[in-house]
Amino acid sequence: MSLAMLHKQEDRYLHEFSQLQADLKAHEVDWLSNIRQQAMQHYATVGLPTLKQEEWRFTNIAPIRDTNFKRAALPESLPNATALQPYSLGDIDAYQLVFINGTFTKSLSRIDELPNGVVVSTLQTAAHERPALVQAHLGRHWGAAVHGFVALNTALMQDGAFIFVPKNVVVEKPIHLLFLTTAADEHLVTYPRNLIVAEPSSQLRLIESYAGLDGVSYFTNAVTEVCLEDSAVVEHTKLQLEQSKAFHMATTQVHQARASHFHSQVLAVGGKLSRNEIFAVLNGEGCETTLNGLYFGNSAQLVDSYTCIDHRQPHCNSHELYKGILAGESRGVFNGKIVVRPEAQKTNAKQSNSCLLLSKDAIIDTKPQLEIFADDVKCTHGATVGQLDANALFYLRSRGMDLASARSLLTYAFANEVVDRMPFPPLQQKLAERIWGYLPGEHRSEGEVR
């Protein structure tokens, strides 16, 4: 399809794009305008994903397609620090960048005293102040076909974080990006876009949180690109804590050079319809990639986790553990793709996915996909779906715990196995406490027994 046809169909995103172009005309650099223009063209070609596409066959995005979302702007009054409390990192000493309705909000952020040479700014600022660096990486590392949501994010991106860590620098404190949507009106859309560049042998801990402050329907379409140069280490935590009526489509694109380590954990809790994608391209020898994830579903939520690990070079290891807990009539989708290219000998890839179904109406669609083109590799995958273990329940009861508490504890334990693997102890401990409050089903109030 062409832009002209989209125009004829009165496509709402094209309309938004035209308006944005008019608004930005005066102060956006040409190369960035071109990136937007190309992305809009790409969207015109591919459209939004449909159930007919293999990668989307369990996730019907019609509710998003059929809603007329409005581009978000800053609210008249900003939320105060108390409203942010449940989503902040509490007593963990961290840099914090807060984006309200997609716009960076300085008064709620803290980015003082950065190590020498480290850049933490908004992407818009970086595009003006460091055009060469941004141009070299923004949208340059796509490892797979770009779908409509990513294309729209690129064409319509508002703002987001730009983080640059120079060679050999270790950023000790984590950097927390907090994206909040707040509105009295229904149907706002935001397009957060983050770009992270970690130079050789640098280290960074990044936490991205997404949440909404009001119980209305809205849509977050987020993209984060992470570029790890030789021997860089990046720990990435994504906390999806959107409101129950929200839509959340997010893609993290990771590009790894030689001997770099990327450790990711995703916690997906909120949203009526959500999908979190990670594409990791292992483009150098000796890379380590860990993708761990935990997803919860309640009532009629649909929560989709899509991961793709692309082994392009020899001697790389990838580890993946995704766990889900589904209650009510919720639906989970796990799609874990591992590609091992012909050059990628001595690859060691391990994937496992397990899901706990707490009600008879909950559904999980799980689909491991292994595409192996090299012959000297070790790849394993396993998927389990089940209920709480009767032996474990009896064990806990035989020590005095009542049935409800025993069920809660086992549900918690199932989830906590993922949290236990988080590499940063302060955050691990915080989440170990907080997940009590996020668990689906009837376990939400148990936390305080600790």
């Binding site: 273990d389 035989s398 334990a413």
Partner: protein, 248 residues
């Protein structure tokens, strides 16, 4: 303390216990011995209240109350403790958290306040020393990645913390080397008290060298075929189950 009368029990529709009569008084140690398949573990699990074990006939009184009317957690809160033959691994919950939850469940049952954090730590430390348990083990998930011996020791450690009135050790000796066996037995012996009773379920006599029973019962084909004192265990060891069972 415990009075079983004509207890019949089935597992998955199959009759395993066929009329058990057993009286256990406070301060006593009873050993239940028998060959594989004689119903030893079933007896232990019936007392602990496992769902799949259904009592079809007979009665069990514990401290004068109908035990069979009590849920497993009620039994536990009233002082019954079974050390599992196969302790369950539960990744994601630390031993400490679990012990605290179990201890507090009992306290709540008795209408007491939750245990104070400092007191709890002190109690744990004291009992750890008793069973020579490494502190690192406490922060690990329940039984996850434990060796067979560590699991069994952890069972007795839980017993030490929870201080039951009636402890049932289900083949606690299986899988233990001689050093671990001594540690476990020492632990159990130090927990013996006048107001407390122990039922030791075992296939072999060797644990009874260390935990000396007041009574030994031989179980065969779902019935107690012979009872005696500690010498009966030695006789069994010498002559085998077949000889004893055949004579009855």
């Amino acid at each position: 303390m415990l009075e079983m009368q004509g207890v019949y029990a089935t597992v998955g529709g199959k009759e395993i216990l066929r009329g058990i009569d057993l009286k256990v008084k406070a301060g006593e140690v009873h050993a239940i011995m028998g060959p594989n398949g004689s119903g030893k573990s079933t007896l232990a699990n019936v007392l602990a209240g496992r769902d799949e074990y259904e009592v079809t006939k007979g009665s069990i009184l514990y401290k004068g109350h109908d035990l069979l009317a009590m849920a497993p957690e009620e039994r536990a809160c009233e002082g019954i403790f079974m050390a599992f033959q196969y302790p369950v691994e539960i990744p994601g919950v630390s031993n400490t958290y679990f012990l605290k939850a179990a201890l507090n469940a009992r306290r709540k049952h008795r209408g007491e306040e939750e245990v104070d954090a400092v007191d709890f730590l002190q109690l744990i430390k004291e009992k750890m020393k008793l069973l020579q348990i490494d502190e690192a083990l406490l922060n690990r998930a329940i039984n996850e990645g434990f060796s067979g011996g560590e699991k069994k020791r952890n069972e007795i450690f839980q017993m030490a913390v929870l201080e039951p009135t009636l402890a049932i050790l289900d083949e606690t000796d299986s899988g233990l080397d001689i050093d671990a066996l001594k540690i476990v037995a020492d632990g159990v012996n130090q927990l013996r008290a006048d107001d407390q009773a122990i039922i030791v379920v075992t296939h072999y006599q060797r644990l009874l060298n260390y935990i000396v029973p007041d009574f030994v019962h031989v179980l065969a084909d779902g019935r107690i075929v012979k009872s005696g004192d500690k010498d009966l265990a030695l006789e069994l060891e010498e002559k085998g189950y077949a000889a004893i069972s055949a004579r009855c």
